[in-house]
Amino acid sequence: MNTMQSLPLLQNALTVGAILFSLGLVGILARRNLIVMFLAAEMMLQGISVSLVAWSRYHGDWGGHVLVIFVLTVAACEAAVALVFVLQAFSRTGRLDSAAWQSLREATVGRTVDHELPSIDTVPPKFPTLAPAGILPAADENEPLQREHV
């Protein structure tokens, strides 16, 4: 048989959805970059979408599909509005750090302090090297043409 039975297919797809949701939860709890937190939230939405479509296939009706279409719509709206807020937050603090806004925390919660943070990367980035060809253009020291990292 080259097609899966409906119940194992449902369970496999629900497992994938659960894994995506849990990884998104870990990301949104642990990461401090606002945009990465946002990506993790989108990942949770993806897990929910997979689960909804799996149930829809199992029950043979369109409810899950329609819900996923609305999830897409709401995710687009949410991304537009929230990215505007992220940009505003960045322009106020110069950082994409969620801990930059920890003055909003509860009075009983301790302050987030970074311990043992190395001043430079311990793992230096590796960039691809190309064989030199042609004439090396004269570099302009006044203008940084590229970032050190992406």
Binding site: V26, W62, H65, F70, V150
Partner: protein, 286 residues
């Protein structure tokens, strides 16, 4: 039902081991300010072990048909999802998330949701993710920022996620083909493929006759025929009001985003002097 009952985590030890391995792997892989290459390799190996444990504990996959495709695309989705949340650089996280979306679209296609699979690629990877990358390019300070190299409570976060995953796996493993006794919602997938044309009462009557049904008939997707046309009919027929509400929501989000950008920029330019904030020049230029 000819399907073998789904009994993935009967012992419980495999599931517990998978959860523990997930916690250790995510804890090692999340940015913690003192990364070593060996710790990341160990975390990667533990993560692959956890993944293998989940696959072993789940349904045994046989054959090279739809199941192998499902395995491949779901592995792509899950591995790149893990890489998304442990990437130090947010740009790499966004790229990994694009690969996650590709995997999710594959899973949706295997599940028979053709329109949604394509829409995920077009809307998410094509529009939303590009918007993320625009914002990253606008708002990315030079170099790898310190807050990208540390995490909020990485151990507790990994524990929370892995325990949630374990509980969800347990409840998924306990699903059975028997119709729910409480609600009487019939499983139309166990009826004939033309179940969509039958009234629900007739379908509910057939659920008891499902064990003798043809396995190919139980595996067939009742939504496959004229998929997009019927999905459009459902969306613009039964859910028309919701579609209108979603359109209003999109309009409100559009206007709200523009309003916040224009007004917030002026207020911020008035409030922050150029020397106090490193980004003041950029926001004033906007």
């Amino acid at each position: 039902m000819t399907a073998v009952p789904f009994d993935p985590f009967a012992s419980g030890t495999l599931l517990a081991g998978a959860v523990v391995a997930t916690v250790a792997s995510l804890w090692l892989l999340l940015p913690n300010g003192r990364d070593t290459t060996s710790a990341r390799w160990l975390g990667t190996l533990l993560g692959l072990g956890a993944l293998a444990a989940f696959i072993l504990a789940g349904r045994r996959l046989g054959g090279l048909g739809e199941e192998a495709v499902f395995l491949i695309v779901s592995l792509v989705a899950v591995v790149s999802a893990a890489a998304t949340i442990v990437s130090r650089s947010p740009v790499y996280a966004a790229i990994w998330f694009a690969l996650t979306l590709a995997g999710v679209a594959g899973v949706l296609l295997v599940l028979g949701a053709q329109f949604l699979g394509v829409a995920t690629i077009v809307v998410y990877a094509g529009a939303i993710l590009v918007m993320f990358l625009f914002v990253l390019m606008l708002a990315q300070p030079a170099g790898l920022a310190p807050y990208d190299r540390v995490s909020n409570e990485p151990f507790l976060s990994a524990l929370a996620g892995a325990v949630l995953l374990g509980v969800l796996s347990l409840s998924i493993g306990r699903l059975s083909a028997a119709p729910a006794a409480c609600c009487g919602v019939p499983s139309r997938a166990t009826a004939t493929p033309t179940a969509g044309t039958q009234p629900p009462s007739a379908v509910g009557g057939e659920a008891t006759a499902a064990p003798v049904a043809d396995p190919l008939a139980t595996a067939a997707d009742p939504l496959a025929e004229n998929h997009v046309a019927r999905l459009g009919g459902e969306l613009f027929g039964r859910h028309l009001v919701a579609v209108e509400a979603a359109g209003v929501l999109l309009l409100v989000a559009l206007i709200g985003a523009i309003a916040v950008v224009s007004r917030g920029g002026d207020a911020q330019a008035a409030a922050v002097s150029p020397s106090s904030s490193p980004a003041a020049g950029r926001s004033a230029a906007r």
